[in-house]
Symmetry: C2
Subunit: 117 residues, 2 copies
């Protein structure tokens, strides 16, 4: 991942409403959520949410698909993985002993939910 693309992703997430939106979609899984449902859950105006969805979408972090009258958004996990990988990239070269605990984070995050074994 190039720096510019990372900056775009980070910028998209650097906003309370957008970050909440993205997390909601990550939680929702591949099934996704309709725009209206997101707006309802977050208590935000439809047009404001639409702007947020547009930014996230443009950054490649989420993806829309039409379903009847609704537009369903889903998180793009591969983009998320790329971003995380990018952030970790330089850590090891600097100080492996400090980087090492990062490997544990994912499994910790998983075990916290009791989901990933």
């Amino acid at each position: 991942m190039e720096t510019k693309s990372a900056v775009a992703s980070l910028g998209a997430l650097a906003h309370e409403g957008r970050l909440s939106t993205f997390r909601l979609l990550v939680q929702a899984g591949p099934q996704g959520l309709a725009a209206g449902e997101i707006a309802r859950r977050l208590g935000v105006l439809p047009n404001t949410l639409s702007a947020s969805l547009n930014v996230l979408s443009h950054a490649g972090l989420i993806e829309p698909r039409r379903q009847g009258r609704s537009i369903i958004y889903t998180a793009r996990y591969d983009a998320m993985r790329e971003l995380l990988a990018f952030l970790m990239e330089d850590c090891c070269s600097g100080s492996p002993e400090i980087c090492a605990p990062l490997a544990a984070i994912a499994s910790q995050a998983c075990s916290a939910e009791g989901a990933c074994a």
Copy 2:
């Protein structure tokens, strides 16, 4: 980590110059780098860099310490870990099978450098 603090960190990194600065410091390890050295390596004006360092510092991602005439900045790895953990947090609850590969990222990042093994 709360959402607000995450937004602050993400916002601090959502800028080409600041992201490059942070990555440089992550690479540099606990030893850190002097502000002037960073400015030289990135080819950026001292005052501009100072603003960047201020933002990163205020977000808790880096830490300054004085050493003679220079001010040495170091990356705060714990803050970085918190941020990464925050981003992964909701992944598992949504879809463990998609989250699982995240655990491999850290070790991949390590093995790519041949550092952690």
